[in-house]
Amino acid sequence: MNQTLLEVENLKMYFPIKGGIFGRTVGYVKAVDDISFSVKEGETLSIVGESGCGKSTTGRAILRLEEPTSGKITFDGKNLLSLSKKELRKRRKDMQIIFQDPYASLNPRQTISRILEEAMAIQNIVPKKERRERALQLLETVGIAQYQADRYPHEFSGGQRQRIGIARALAVNPKLIICDEAVSALDVSIQAQILNLLKRLQRDFKLTYLFISHDLGVVRHVSDRIIVMYLGKIVEIGDKHSIFENPKHPYTTALLSAIPVPDPERVRERIVLTGDVPSPINPPTGCRFHTRCPFATDLCREKEPELRTIGDMKKGHQAACHYIDDLPKAKAI
């Protein structure tokens, strides 16, 4: 069917902690610790997890906005980590990112038309004369009227600013867009508009999305496949129906059960996890979830589980838990 567009292999991202009088490295924050996955052309793959699980770091590492500690990232057949700065910049044309706070990522001193033209100028994909014309077209595409093109970012509402952020990402005709919490700061009625826009653009321009979010409702709506991360590790990966209807990892189950559902008459079992997410500086040994897992045993404390598939799981659905075969059947939400 579809070809693999992006392949991430054994990605590690450690941030050094400096300490002592000589500023020696005294330890590492293991933000992303040995994860592998691939994204197919035209699909939406989401990464969900709580703060500190490494989902945003993964997105940034793919674009080399942070230099990964080790691993291999293949995009469209080329290893991104072997590229020089100049080559990388060229490649970035195909990979764009949309951030959570659109205001912080738009230059307040440029008109929105300038912002879009600048993106085209850097990649030099549109001749100078035609840039303005294309900027206007892009604004139209994302639902901003052309007469607003010479306004500054502060004159727009949050939802409109996010539309401008999207237009800028589209300006260079990318193949992959990484949406890092792209709708998290928006009110629900506006969030729905932006999600609809992202879906429409995906159809029209054959885009591939890597969608990073903590909001499971949104993720279920946009994704084809989902990765659940916990403390820098992938704990479960699968197509969205598998993840939502047949979750295997106890963390996924707990996460799903924790989402407040807008239906006051729904009675369901909630698994309230005790405690907080441990520090990624000294992550727990064995399975990283064992400190909060209601089913943890000695094995979990000692041996790290691998991602695997068992009997009733669909192809491509994997979970990293020693006990996926004999845990109490988690109820689908």
């Binding site: 509402s157 508009q193 903590h214 949104v218 559902v261 008459e265 309230v272 996890l273 939400i333």
Partner: protein, 333 residues
Amino acid sequence: MTEILLEVKDLRTSFFTDEGEVKAVNGVSFFVPAGKTLGIVGESGSGKSITALSILRLIQTPGKIIGGEILFEGQDLLKMNKNEIREIRGNKISMIFQEPMTSLNPVYTIGDQIGEVFRAHKRISKEEAKRRAIKMLQEVGIPSPERRVDQYPHELSGGMRQRVMIAIALACSPKLLIADEPTTALDVTIQAQILELIKDLQRKRDMSVIMISHDLGVIAETCDYVAVMYCGKVVEFSDVKTLFKAPKHPYTIGLLNSLPRHDIDMDELSAIPGSVPNPFEMPKGCAFAPRCPHAKEICHEKMPSLISINEYNQVRCLMHSEEWQSQNKGVPT
């Protein structure tokens, strides 16, 4: 009919800025029954937080409460002098906020901060205050409270800090707790813990809660009654079951429809078109009319009043007025 603890009548709070007057709260009325939870839901700028701050008279210049009544146990809070309202704050009505770190003082131990409440409202010694602080920490589920009581806010995680805020708020056993987006800054699994805690303490102490949130899921799971706010007005007041099963105001209907569903796949979300009007250019008639799918000419001219459907259900929409229904044969849904 149940006993009413707090009744807000026609509350008006405005901000007088250089550009003009912003009517942040523009004639808000609702009530909170004793021992129950009232939810206030609305998008950013709808006036829900300002309503809460007005109840405790915490509005700062250029803001001013310009009219209305806030009856708490039969007394009008707006007629009290400074000393009288101080006796109420933190003692009979207390409040918790979204970001616990900005509400906690970084240079005092959490024991000092909880003890301060006791010492402000009750004549007790420092030692007794500390003993009670430890008891409060235990009640809000903080492990090893004897050790934690001497720690500073930065030594705690986000969830723990919110527990400390709750301990401070409940120290004097208030009759009413106002929770302004108490879990918005927290991860879902921690959010689930905090919501459980608030519900649990409410049952044990038989207090009323005003839960302010933009998250309809949180509202559905915690509230008995709900006030939906839009542009400084309550557009719908309802018991929680009716609100989610049979919403009446087109804005409420639009909000519920724009949520991604957990149970069915949808290609497109039904977003509410447009965005919230500029506070300086409020529409003359119904503030929602420019975005409303059912709006007629009259909606743009006449601000509808709150129409009572029964004891607990009110809606501010001309569609539910008798004249509309006689002319148009029923209400479109």
